[in-house]
């Protein structure tokens, strides 16, 4: 279905963990509970967050399904319900709950979801070097210098009001670029999903996949740099 590969050892361990109940050692068919002894099972660390919630590995997901599944599993794993159980079960309940919370927080936010997916797909993008955005760095350094000048200026002076006007204009410009980046990300998200839905294994599909991943990586990085400078701008001039 996708290019996420575990090495063989990981995979064997995953199968072991998924196929045998830690308590009664019987074959496991259930997801998080043994069908025979009904004991809670630890969520394997190799299970990705999408699979954990029974969601397809897509960037546009049904957040209602995510939420419903999160509540369902939260109830199932909640430590309160394991107070009278064995130490082993209590610790599994704690571990699963912690993992579940992290997984939910990650998938709920579209940006974190995309970052996470990029990590999962890293095998595919590792060979693609993203070039540092040299122009953006120059621009940021220049802006930071103007900000320093403004901070040190006498606020009543003419120099300060000139700088302020410049910074205001920069802010408008940067905020516009932020919106543009968001829009481009959304486009990439749906292109990625469409490509995954088609599920082609051709060379062309692979190339396109890597292109999309690289573009997403670039925009997500640039987005962080721009967010930082906008925060500094807003904090200084308002």
């Amino acid at each position: 279905m996708n290019g996420h590969t575990h090495n063989t050892d990981d995979r064997r361990e995953l199968q072991m963990a998924r196929s045998m109940c830690w308590h009664c050692q019987s074959e496991m068919a259930g997801e998080y509970f043994c069908d025979r002894c009904v004991k809670v099972q630890p969520v394997s660390k190799d299970l990705d967050y999408f699979t954990c919630f029974g969601l397809p590995r897509r960037l546009v997901i049904d957040t209602q399904v995510l939420e419903a599944k999160f509540y369902e599993l939260s109830r199932a794993f909640h430590p309160d319900f394991y107070q009278n159980k064995s130490d082993a079960e209590q610790s599994i309940s704690l571990g699963n709950s912690a993992m579940l919370n992290t997984a939910y927080r990650t998938l709920r936010d579209p940006i974190q979801r995309a970052e996470y997916l990029l990590d999962l797909e890293a095998g595919a993008v590792k060979d693609i070097r993203t070039s540092p955005p040299a122009d953006l760095f120059e621009e940021i350094l220049e802006l930071q210098e103007t900000l320093d000048e403004f901070r040190e200026s006498n606020r009543a002076s003419e120099q300060a009001s000139t700088l302020r006007a410049k910074l205001d204009a920069d802010r408008t410009n940067l905020e516009e670029r932020q919106r543009d980046m968001e829009a481009r990300l959304q486009q990439l998200f749906s292109r990625w999903d469409t490509l995954q839905d088609r599920g082609e294994a051709t060379e062309q599909a692979r190339t396109e996949r890597n292109h999309i991943l690289k573009d997403m990586r670039d925009i997500l990085s640039n987005r962080t740099y721009v967010k930082n400078i906008v925060n500094d701008l807003v904090a200084t001039i308002s």
Binding site: T130, P132, P133, A134, F137, E138, I140, L141, Q144, R217, L220, S221, T224, Y225, K227, N228, D232
Partner: protein, 127 residues
């Protein structure tokens, strides 16, 4: 999590803040960024007779990134170009006692050194 004393010291009294003119002879400039946190670091070296006679930096980021680049400029001064290329991020981690979540700051400093050296060499030997 608290910063180590050395990080706080570099943060409060950063060494060698500033910049050289990029076009100046013997000056190498490295500008790098960390996409994880959005920190941006500019590090410059001034080389005479294959020795780094001065180094400056400007970093916009967290305390560890500032401390890493400040320390890097201190270490660079007096080194030959070849020696400078051997500075490793792990040396910075050790000296500043950086916690695991801040290791990328030292990586950024190493990248900045490498970028500055590469820029110097490109200018000295344009092909």
């Amino acid at each position: 999590m608290a910063y180590s004393e050395k990080v706080v010291d570099h943060f409060n009294n950063p060494r060698n803040v500033g910049s050289f003119k990029k076009e100046e002879d013997g000056v190498g400039t490295g500008i790098v960024g960390a996409p994880e946190c959005g920190d941006v670091m500019k590090l410059q070296i001034k080389v005479q007779n294959d020795t780094i006679v001065d180094a400056k930096f400007k970093t916009f980021g967290c305390g560890s990134a500032i401390a890493s680049s400040s320390l890097a400029t201190e270490w660079l001064k007096g080194k030959t170009v070849e020696e400078a290329g051997k500075i490793k991020n792990t040396d910075i981690v050790q000296e500043l006692n950086l916690p695991p979540v801040k290791i990328h700051c030292s990586v950024l400093a190493e990248d900045a050194i490498k970028a500055a050296l590469a820029d110097y060499q490109k200018k000295a030997d344009p092909k």
